[in-house]
Amino acid sequence: MSRRFWSNIWAVAYREALVRRHDVAFLGVVVMQPIMMFVIFGVALSNKPANVPWAVVDRSGGEVARRLVTDVQATGYFLPPVRLAGYEQGRRLLKRGKMLAVLVVPDEFERDVERGRPRVQLLLDGSDPLSAARIGAYVAQTAAAFRPRDRGGERHAAAPAIDVRQRFWFNPTLRDRTFFLAALAGMLLTNLCLSVTSTSLVGEREAGTYEQMLSLPTTSLEIVLGKLVPYVAVSYALLLFATLASGLVFGIWPQGSFVALVAVTFPYVLASLAIGVFVSAVARTSAQAVFISVFFVMPSFVLSGVMYPYQLMPHGVRELGGVFPLRWYQIASRRIIERGGGFGDIVVPALALGVIFALILLALRWRMRPRLA
């Protein structure tokens, strides 16, 4: 590595940074997207059911049933219940999507309470399975803890057979915000590294400036490396933005070693940038490059586990997600940001990212023969 090598890289990097500073579309990606995603993932999205519309068909009309309904209501996930006269009406409302759940209390409910085997029926709209499963669980838990014969303060002596205490570590109130924001930097960096790099090289080829640079005393390796340097810098700026914004606005600071987070970001950015370069080597026009990179980013969001838990995906799909750098980065950043991990916890993800990077470099060597338009 001569001194020429580094100064050439530096020169290309300087030029790239100058060009990008005046590129409105690029600034849109770097400034607008992070803010938008931060607001959406920090404020808007949640898997925890809220404002659930539900109805009650109370055929017993008794006081015990009313207390059960009040107890379910008190969990805080539900809107005030709608009283219905009959079962059919409930089914119709479910079908039209007006209700998510209908609780049916049978005629002989009070008698069953006296006998000690009370039962109620819960009809759920299964079309949104995630919400339905959660709502079903909330109602079942409330009902299981319900003491039917406990009227007005007169407590029953019999303690339950088993007392289950639940704790949610690292996120006591189980807020989805913490879950999403821990992966925010990963999402932003995938977007940046892929969509920007992929169009940057193709754009040069389209404009004919790539040939110009080749005719200078720079090699194609120096050009590619030089073009990537500014994006590494922008990547770290975005990591800083995601960390500061989550910390200052929502108080979600990394629980573990921030240095480890910075360290694992490096192989992640390299791998993502390499994919971007590979896309631009495959694509003929910048429109094609955008298509390919956008349709790489989408599945990587969905399969990596930043939005849905990858642990629950079926085998095959779960392993497929390991192809995406974002999978490994989100594993590492969750360990550090949420669970307070350190360097020992990022070894495996960092190695995996290194392997992905090496594989893409091999593919690039094979694909990137000097190509003139």
Partner: protein
């Protein structure tokens, strides 16, 4: 409007679109890929999830409790010797939930069992909670039958989707994703490219009116995407086993109306952009809230009030609602009338606006 001129424009556009092999690959591969990927990611049932076990009592009763929990196949127990080991495994992500059984389990009348979840994986923890707690309570009742069971039993029935399978929900939503995002993107790029190569100016100096040019763009692309919808319906049915519960014809009709909206948006984005890259940026920026806020991935009901109002402004929200209603709940035209009228109204407004942007360019 001259019918022959329009027909010529339509034929020209159809040929230009179908000639490019890359566009063809995108038109077929992206919808199918999206279906397969989205179809498999949403799972509500917990299966074979590693469960950390710290059994401090190590008695026949506690061992039976652990064996009972493992027997259902929902959780796979992994034994740990100390609380520290459990904590390390949780931090390292080896386990996402753990059960701690106290040393004096079996001896006391009221036993306390602790369940610990990895709250860092909020969605996973929420799902695991639903299964684990009831599993422990029922298994424990068998192990320690001393105290009388209290509480009310809930018999749950999920209508339309009894096994709470994630596929129908995601498949019905994927139509909204593909028809909003891919359609707008392809239209936007196609028009900008024409402007860059100068063929758009050539069109404008022909006797064709702006409405004819617009329709000449929209109609063939609309037909292509209607074909895409049919392709997706068949692929979802054959590969994922998800067929629409309602009328297929009605679904195709609504989808075609919705395609118009995305096409018009594509025209607007491209007419207001100087380069293809800019048009693409606009589309992608627009598509972020669309994917996240339209109810495709996350229920709108759970959002704060402001966002719930905001989402009502996206046509995609209404289309995804209709698509799920038809696909899963077998809804007919009357049940989704308000949503459909909103879609049609949006379509009309956007097509008229798209025509104005094209005229402004002339």
């Amino acid at each position: 409007m001259n019918r022959r001129r329009l027909w010529t424009l339509v034929r020209r556009e159809a040929r230009a679109t179908l000639r490019d092999p890359f566009t063809l690959v995108v038109l077929v591969a992206v919808p199918l890929g999206a279906l397969l990927i989205f179809g498999f990611v949403l799972a509500t049932d917990v299966k074979q999830l590693p469960l950390g076990v710290l059994d401090a009592s190590d008695t026949p009763a506690s061992r039976r409790l652990v064996a009972d929990i493992g027997a259902t196949g929902t959780f796979v127990p992994r034994r740990y010797r100390s609380r520290d080991a459990v904590a390390r495994a949780l931090v390292g992500g080896e386990i996402s939930a753990a059960i701690v059984i106290p040393p004096d389990f079996a001896e006391r009348r009221s036993q306390e069992v602790q369940l610990i979840y990895d709250g860092g994986e909020a969605v996973l923890a929420g799902n695991a909670e639903a299964f684990l707690k009831s599993l422990v309570v029922t298994s424990a009742a068998d192990v320690v039958p001393t105290a009388p069971p209290g509480g009310v039993e809930v018999v749950t029935r999920a209508l339309f989707n009894p096994r709470l399978d994630g596929k129908p929900f995601m498949v019905a939503g994927t139509f909204g994703f593909v028809l909003s995002f891919l359609t707008t993107l392809i239209t936007a790029v196609s028009i900008v490219n024409e402007r860059l190569t100068g063929t758009f100016e050539q069109l404008q100096v022909t006797p064709a009116t702006s409405l004819e040019i617009l329709l000449g763009k929209i109609l063939p692309l609309g037909a292509v995407f209607a074909g895409d919808v049919a392709l997706m319906v068949v692929a979802a049915g054959l590969v994922l086993g998800v067929w629409p519960q309602g009328s297929i014809m009605f679904f195709l009709l609504v989808s075609s109306a919705y395609v118009l909206i995305s096409l018009a948006l594509g025209v607007i984005f491209s007419a207001t952009s100087a380069t293809a890259a800019e048009a693409v940026q606009k589309t992608v920026l627009f598509s972020i809230p669309l994917v996240q806020l339209s109810g495709f991935a996350f229920p709108i009901r759970n959002m704060p009030l402001v966002f719930r109002w905001l989402t009502e402004l996206f046509p995609a929200t209404h289309y995804i609602r209709v698509s799920r209603a038809i696909y899963i709940r077998a809804a007919g035209p009357t049940a989704v009338l308000p949503e459909i009228s909103i879609i049609l109204l949006c379509g009309l407004v956007l097509v008229l606006y798209a025509r104005r942007t094209i005229e402004a360019r002339a």
